[in-house]
């Protein structure tokens, strides 16, 4: 490995003598490719309008990024664009928190992080925790004829330029806030060229014979964001629904943000330690990465035994599946609830509470629920990180630290996130992940197992054989429980690829659940008035 990168360095030096333009030294990966890893953001006003434009309310002015200045619309499409522009306040799909599509996601005014392995380039965005998984392994998409909001991205290296072809996008996204649009025939070819260690030239060639008279191209710089060491979350739809009251604060479990009512529960008591857990041995002869650590990379499904319908064992109840029970500590398999929280858990099974489960709103499942919702996860191991991409669009970025959790502090306590703040380290062949700063908005499953903002999760990913991980999560939450507890769930590697779950874009159920809740509340109100 070392010698390969040295060779690459020598080869690079030889070229550099001949080509002065390339004398700038680029960071490179172990396999000699330009190293795009890091946090980036576009420097342009392209998100508002790709063309040169004056200001409008909520739309800062800006220089265009379209080569040649204007987008070559067919006449009907030029008229449609003007209609979109006129109606943009209501018609912009991103205004409704729908996935932005490619290339728009690349130049929205939110940072994103690029991760790079020999087989993948992953881009995780702060905006709604959208991600792109770009396959650079030469494989074709395993499922044909699917369209999605973010499309299917396949990449390859053309010298030092990463070239990505994006196909299969639906016709519902726009290029910008100004209403520039496309059809489902869109083909985007992106080129990522590193100009220096802190700048990428981003180009996107747009082909769509249904809408344009010819192929056209945009180009802009992406700048490394040196002042931030992690990206946070802007969950667009959750912010909308919290602001307009469609999703309501529970002061018992949510983090007490400034101006919010204090928790009625008072300060949590100290907890005794959890019980001893049975030992699980890591596998012999595991496949390993260049750094000697077990290779966990891949597409995994949890054999979760219905954990998304209850962590404790229970039978089937009408349309709620029965569960295996995944609690291994306490040994009797029951969660050590405080009395108020057990009562809340039981209450959450009432039909009128179905609306309160954040995943019914298509919000992020949180930790540990993201690991056992019934949809797959892709694990990547780029240098310095473990990254998890969830099919129900969200991500967890886990920076790896050396040794135990002593040096690196989590982010400030008041910054609360749906997926929390995670750091990881290796204990032998076991990956240990420590997660804090959770927001207390999530439920642990559909029957409403309870967790609060005091939740602290320690996860163990124990590779027992290639493609087999014993997953354990120990949850310490002194607001809800009397002692820590641990669940255990096997994760199995498969050969498929992730698809896209656009959830709130097509959520036909939420209104039904809201009707059930509203009817209950109306009855309660009537009952109170009658009294």
């Amino acid at each position: 490995m070392f010698s390969r990168s040295m060779k690459a360095l020598f080869a690079f030096s030889a070229v550099a003598v001949l080509a002065p333009a390339q004398q700038i030294k680029l960071p490179r990966t172990a396999d000699g490719k330009p190293n795009l890893q890091g946090i980036w953001q576009a420097r342009s006003r392209a998100a508002y309008d790709l063309e040169y434009h004056a200001a409008k309310l909520g739309m800062p002015p800006g220089k265009g990024v379209v080569e040649g200045g204007t987008i070559p619309y067919q006449p009907w499409a030029a008229a449609k664009k003007i209609e979109n522009f006129t109606n943009r306040q209501k018609a912009d799909p991103v205004g409704q928190c729908y996935f932005p599509g490619v290339p728009r996601i690349m130049y929205m005014e939110f940072p994103f992080q690029i991760f790079q392995t020999p087989e993948h380039v992953a881009i995780t965005f702060e905006w709604s925790q959208v991600y792109r998984l770009i396959y650079t392994n030469g494989k074709a998409a395993p499922h044909e004829g699917i369209d999605s909001w973010m499309g299917d991205s396949r990449g390859h290296w053309d010298g030092d330029t990463l070239v990505v072809e994006v196909k299969g996008q639906n016709d519902k996204t726009w290029f910008d806030m100004a209403g520039d649009f496309h059809s489902d025939a869109l083909l985007v070819t992106e080129r990522f060229t590193m100009l220096d260690a802190d700048t990428i030239r981003y180009e996107a060639t747009i082909q769509d014979p249904k809408v344009f008279t010819k192929t056209w191209k945009i180009s802009m710089p992406l700048e490394r964001q040196k002042n931030i060491d992690r990206i946070l979350e802007y969950q667009c739809q959750a912010e909308v629904e919290e602001a307009n009251g469609a999703f309501e604060r529970d002061p018992r479990t949510w983090y007490p943000d400034p101006g919010a009512p204090p928790s009625p529960l008072g300060k949590p008591a100290l907890m005794p330690p959890g019980g001893a857990l049975p030992e699980v041995k890591t596998g012999a002869n595991l496949r390993r990465n260049a750094d000697g650590k077990p290779d966990l990379t891949g597409y995994y499904s949890a054999n979760a035994g219905g954990a998304n319908y209850g962590l404790e064992k229970h039978g089937r109840d009408f349309l709620t599946p029965g569960t295996r029970g995944v609690v291994i500590d306490p040994a009797d398999g029951s969660l050590p609830y405080q009395p108020w929280a057990r009562a809340e858990r039981v209450n959450r099974e009432q039909p009128y509470r179905g609306y309160d489960d954040p995943t019914a709103h298509c919000f992020v499942a949180g930790v540990p629920r993201s690991m056992y919702v019934p949809s797959p996860v892709q694990i990547l191991q780029p240098p310095g990180y473990v990254v998890m991409l969830f099919e129900r669009m969200s991500w967890r970025i886990i920076p790896l630290i050396n040794g135990p959790l002593d040096g690196r502090a989590h982010i400030p306590d008041n910054v609360r996130l749906w997926q929390g703040d995670s750091v990881g380290h290796w204990e032998g062949d076991t990956l240990v992940v420590d997660t804090t700063n959770l927001n207390g908005k999530t439920w642990l499953n559909e029957v409403g197992d309870v967790v609060s903002h005091a939740e602290h999760v320690v996860e163990h990913f124990i590779p027992t054989a290639d493609g087999k991980i014993t997953y354990r999560a120990t949850v310490t939450d002194p607001i809800v429980y009397t002692r820590p507890w641990t669940i255990e769930i096997p994760l199995n590697r498969g050969s498929d690829e992730l698809l896209e779950v656009a959830c709130h874009e097509d959520n036909g159920d939420l209104q039904h659940l809201k009707d059930v809740r509203d009817e209950y509340r109306a009855k309660q109100k009537k009952g109170n008035q009658a009294r």
């Binding site: 109840d317 349309l319 039909p351 019934p374 559909e446 029957v447 698809l499 779950v501 959830c503 039904h512």
Partner: protein
């Protein structure tokens, strides 16, 4: 008909094998079982759930029912294509109506007129292991 290739001999009731993202028990009513028969008007491939729309004649009036099935991704992984359930296909459906009384149902079984059953999606979390 193409559907013939898709219908699997293994018949799993759709209920409980769906990729739920919300509580079905909360949305649908155990006390409102429905038996429907009618023609498919659309099969909507979507996440978190796909929907079969069915024109059902009730008391001389045509009502378009929305029948909730598995996620598009589960269907795709089962080899389904968008075109596999064409409009006009006649289906017989057992299920439970939504609590809010709309023409919406969670389906427990869907059969063709010749008795074959339609498999409509499954979850990788499917039936819990006991």
């Amino acid at each position: 008909m193409r559907i013939g290739n898709i219908v699997l001999v293994m018949v799993t009731l759709m209920t409980g094998t769906l990729l739920a993202h919300h509580s079905f028990t909360a949305e649908f009513d155990q006390n409102k079982p429905v038996k429907l028969s009618g023609k498919v008007t659309e099969m909507k491939f979507s996440n978190p759930h796909s929907w079969i729309y069915l024109d059902v004649e009730t008391n001389g009036k045509m009502v378009n029912w929305a029948l909730e099935t598995g996620s598009a991704n589960a269907l795709i992984r089962r080899g389904w294509k968008k075109t596999d359930l064409p409009a006009g296909t006649v289906l017989l459906v057992d299920g439970w109506q939504a609590r809010n009384g709309t023409a919406t149902a969670n389906v427990s079984s869907v059969t063709f007129t010749d008795g074959r059953r339609l498999f409509a999606g499954s979850s990788n979390d499917a039936a819990p292991q006991k």
